[in-house]
Amino acid sequence: MNTSKSTTDDQLVRRYEQGEDSAFDVLLKRHQEKLYSYIYFVVHDKDIADDIFQETFVRAITSIRSHRYNSTGYFYAWLIRIAHNLILDTFHQQEVMPMVSHEFFSEQGDVTVDLFNDVRMSEPNVESLMLQEQSFDDVRAMVARLPLNQQQIVYMRFFQELSFKEIAEELGVSINTALGRVRYALINLRKMAYSKDFYVAS
């Protein structure tokens, strides 16, 4: 197959839709790592992550081969949405993940503390390696309680190190929307960090 890095996802989808099986291999290889990392980041369980990852691509395959994929230029965002819904389904079934409601802080004022710029999170030192590791776990646990679209964008911004422009392009949303989601996520995280009844699993 004639494929280069400049071959777009939608071109590969079209080829696979038309019967070129190897085009799927390229799509899988191109997206497997970041999609799996995102799923694992949210669910924290390798077996569940494997299940959701597999089901995400099974649904993608059946949709594409059934001509139900609408080319939008945002294939990865589409995969993320499928995974996102599967994660929601999983936690609905298990009822194990309490989350901050979407509306809870949406009418709050400006963010005055950026949790991720807190020196305690950003300046590791030899003496406090264990504490830092615990802090990192705490952040992950708090992020896990955010609404999923906020988890997703926090992950892309602070763990995958994507720019807001890149995030907006991958998700198919405006930069303002991306900025807004991070803002609300940080407000929620700040509230959780200072909440007396927030419980962080050790």
Binding site: Y16, Q32, Y36, Y40, N117
Partner: protein, 35 residues
């Protein structure tokens, strides 16, 4: 600041990847109708 991930970032299991490659080759829409 940027939070870094641990060095042992998990990856999808090879069995899952192989399953998906095979499923992608074998799936045809009529498979659903026949099921």
């Amino acid at each position: 600041m940027i939070l870094s991930q641990s060095n042992d970032t998990p990856a999808p299991s090879p069995a899952v990847l192989e399953f998906l490659r095979q499923f992608a080759r074998q799936f045809r829409p009529q498979n659903i109708a026949e099921a």
